[in-house]
């Protein structure tokens, strides 16, 4: 199966700072999703981004499928951004997604 490596594993930021989270994967993919898991365990889909760049408010994501990586940018971070960010690449349909181990983000007030 696909190997997924997310970095950094842990990140602590002051409110207002910017950050970049990285996801490397071992094989070609045609499906990639980023999720945020809040401290209560709820997983929220942030982006479906098998290639290219998307933006949603303070968040944006870029996937370079040919080089097997994806980046998630968080600008002007807020305490509510805290939680775990998961990258999940896959071949084909959603059931073939492989989740990484996540980046634990803590935003301090």
């Amino acid at each position: 199966g696909i190997q997924v490596e997310q970095s950094p594993p842990d990140l602590i930021l002051q409110e207002g700072a910017n950050s970049t989270l990285r996801c490397n994967f071992s094989d070609s993919v045609n499906n990639l999703q980023w999720f945020h898991q809040n401290p209560w365990g709820q997983l929220i889909n942030l982006f479906y981004i098998p290639s290219g760049t998307k933006q949603n408010g303070r968040l944006s994501a870029t996937t370079v499928a040919t080089e097997r990586y994806s980046l998630l940018y968080i600008s002007s971070s807020q305490t509510t951004d805290s939680g775990v960010y998961f990258c999940a690449p896959g071949k084909g349909s959603a059931r073939q997604l492989t989740f990484g181990s996540g980046t634990q983000l803590t935003v301090l007030p």
Binding site: L43, A94, Q96
Partner: protein, 115 residues
């Protein structure tokens, strides 16, 4: 419903007991998925339904685990003779057909603790 609903949110049981976890997907979503998440790890795929049938159950760890979706909507994950190693968060997700078929929406999960 407006979102994916999972019940119970928490379940504590004793080793050897039988457990059922329920998932009510977003109305109209044809695909339903079960995942299991252990502490500090990402979710791992268990089983996928397209309509009423289990289209892919390759992630079920052993024959103590079984899932059904008899009417193509609500699904129940059933665990027999629970073991302490079954303790985890069980997540359900659904997705629509058509262009959105590959995008998952998750429920809040059912946290199972086996004592």
């Amino acid at each position: 419903g407006a979102g994916v609903s999972q019940t119970p949110s928490n379940k504590v049981t004793e080793k050897g007991k039988y457990v059922e976890l329920r998932c009510d997907p977003i109305s109209g979503h044809t695909a339903l998925y079960w995942y299991r998440q252990s502490l500090g790890q990402g979710p791992e795929f268990l089983i996928y339904f397209q309509g009423t049938g289990a289209a892919d159950d390759s992630g079920l760890p052993n024959d103590r685990f079984f899932a059904v979706r008899p009417e193509g909507s609500v699904s129940t994950l059933k665990i027999q003779r629970t073991e302490r190693g079954d303790s985890a968060m069980y997540l359900c997700a659904s997705s629509p057909g058509g262009a959105g078929a590959n995008v998952l929406t998750f429920g809040a999960g059912s946290r199972l603790t086996v004592l």
